[in-house]
Amino acid sequence: MLKTFSKAALCGLLLIATAAMADTVVGISGMGNQSDAYSWSQLGDGTVVGSSVAITSNTGYNGLASFAGPSSITIAQCGVSNCWSGNFNPGDELMWTSAGDGTANGPLNFSLGGSFSSVGAAIQVDTPGPFTATISAFNGATFLGSYTVTSDANGDVVYLGLTDLSGTNITRAVFGLNSCGGFGCDTRDFAIDQIEVTTPEPGALALLGSGLLGLGGIIRRRR
């Protein structure tokens, strides 16, 4: 009887944990404690790339950026100074989902090449005017959660990021626009700054580990 109860309790805890996973993904307005980043500058200013491109983080994670298409269309990477008249930080290198030929290729699907607790980037629509943008986080194919941000009326840069409070589960993120209000705007046409990620601090990892050990001890004693 006691064994049966213990098994039921364990299953219940697991179910609660699964439900909590979605609830623990929350939006963030910046990456205050950024530990790594995938910078577009490594591709070279003005480079036109294909529908997907490999990009390495500062600490060596092998990311892969891919675009919704049309798959045959190229993507331009450019610096703020000579290509984009928006309000990113001066000198930032951006990925623009167009080659300037009238086509647009968003959203951006970014595989991180590792697991992180937070991911985000600054983003801006091409045509001036308000826009909404959404980031969705995944662990492999499993959806973890999403976060939507609305810009001001000018469509100034917004930070699009989220954190999974339950741990380093995020392996992939999709950045895209849901809507835009400028005349003739296209939700597939935007620029995005470097992709930033964080991993939990060592102290936080130790705390999480001790918590899990404690949970295991409770279950063992009840057996």
Partner: protein
């Protein structure tokens, strides 16, 4: 079938021209007996048909799928009347954040024009006496012009870039947005190709001008030139042609030459202008609808599903029309094509300026400053080019705060205010 008929018509005209152009010199009349051309007061003009709204949809679709010239759309509310206006321009939008460079191929189609009296104006034939002693001709000088080649442009204190004149003008037009991208926005003409030379002459037999019927008539006009014998590019001769006779020829030529809709076709005359109707009318007088020195249009009536835009320009000897010489007409028409490629970008009415003595309500950016030249532009070929001060800029027409370089409304700051109250 229709295209085949047009091609045969074109071929027949060409053959007829070959035979007629071999005419003996002695058959030519004494130039002093030609009707005398006296330009009317005011600025020379341009003209073109009004385009239906459906054409815009077709052209925008073609732009989107890559089968037509690239177009971008704008929408603006004018404070002068509170109305909202939409339109299309060539290239990619200068109003968005990402900078674009667009190149539109250009097909130059030289046209030899033979008048009823036998005199010929030929853009492929030299005329050093009128062309600053240059051994070239209208075609070669066009190819070497600052409209199609890069030059360093400074509009007032602002460097617009090392680029073609239409691109420099378009950058200046929207400098408030493109200036921040540090040279990233361009609308370029190229690559440039020259199509086989075409020839046109009227259908009235003989060499005697028949009022209301002769479609092309030679007039005595101008003084430049050293060619005093023969029929071609003869000193003091100006050919005048009925635009309604030429335009079907132009569209048939586009079809016969298979000019792609992704290109801009430019028919090039030499010292030939046009009238709306036969050049000589009842009483043997010049048609009062003279003179049209160029126009831009498209072939929506003969090719409604795949529209090719084109311009018709006179490479002018100069000395006849005020502030008009060599490529000034070309500068006018190319800019108008770039900013109103389908001819139906409406604006609040403006007028009483340039070639427009009344009122006009479209975004024909060459018209308000017809008769005003940009400072002469010397080129490496030794020829000094004359370009119209094209503009006014977009914001002049819509009476919005200036989007132009230096807060100006044109390339040389001739205009200090916008178009003002709605023209009546």
């Amino acid at each position: 079938m229709k295209r085949s008929v047009m091609f045969l018509l074109c071929a027949a005209l060409l053959c007829f021209s070959c035979a007629a152009f071999a005419q003996d010199d002695s058959q030519l009349p004494d130039p002093s007996t030609l009707p005398q051309f006296n330009p009317q007061p005011g600025e020379p003009g341009d003209g073109g048909p009004v385009i239906s709204a459906g054409v815009v949809v077709t052209a925008k679709n073609a732009s989107a799928n890559g089968t037509g010239i690239p177009l971008w759309s704008y929408q603006v509310t004018s404070p002068v009347d509170g109305n909202t206006y939409t339109g299309v321009m060539v290239g990619r939008s200068p109003l968005v954040r990402g900078a674009r460079t667009t190149s539109v191929p250009v097909v130059i189609i030289p046209v030899i024009v033979k008048a009823q009296q036998g005199f010929i104006t030929d853009p492929t034939s030299g005329d050093p006496g009128c062309l600053q002693g240059n051994p070239g001709n209208a075609v070669s000088l066009t190819l070497q012009s600052p409209i199609l080649n890069n030059v360093n442009w400074n509009f007032g204190p602002t460097f617009m870039g090392n680029t073609q004149y239409p691109d420099a003008t378009q950058r200046a037009n929207f400098w408030s947005t493109v200036g921040t991208t540090n040279g990233g926005f361009h609308t370029l003409l190229g690559p440039i190709t020259v199509a086989p030379t075409q020839s046109i002459q009227g259908t009235v037999p003989g060499t005697t001008v028949v009022p209301n019927q002769s479609q092309i008539v030679a007039f005595s006009a101008g003084t430049c030139g050293a060619i005093t014998t023969g029929a071609t590019n003869r000193k003091g001769i100006l050919n005048i042609m009925d635009i309604n006779y030429f335009d079907p020829f132009a569209e048939a030529t586009l079809a016969a030459l298979h000019v792609p809709a992704t290109s801009f076709a430019m028919f090039l005359f030499y010292d030939t202008v046009m009238t709306s109707g036969p050049p000589v009318v009842t009483g043997g007088t010049l048609n009062p609808q003279c003179c049209i020195l160029g126009y831009h249009s498209d072939n929506d009536d003969t090719s409604p599903n795949l529209i090719t835009t084109y311009g018709v320009v006179d490479f002018d000897r100069g000395g006849i029309f005020s502030a008009t010489q060599d490529t000034s007409v070309m500068a006018h028409e190319v800019q108008e094509w770039m900013d109103d490629p389908l001819g139906n970008n409406l604006t609040p009415a403006w007028g009483h300026i340039g070639q427009q003595s009344g009122c006009q309500n479209n975004l024909e950016e060459g018209d308000p400053l017809s008769g005003t030249l940009y400072p002469p532009v010397p080129m490496p070929n030794g020829f000094t080019y004359h370009l119209q001060d094209v503009g006014p800029y977009f914001s002049w027409f819509f009476r919005t705060p200036s989007t132009g370089v230096n807060g100006w409304y044109d390339n040389i700051h001739k205009l200090t205010t916008d178009a003002g109250p709605v023209c009546h």
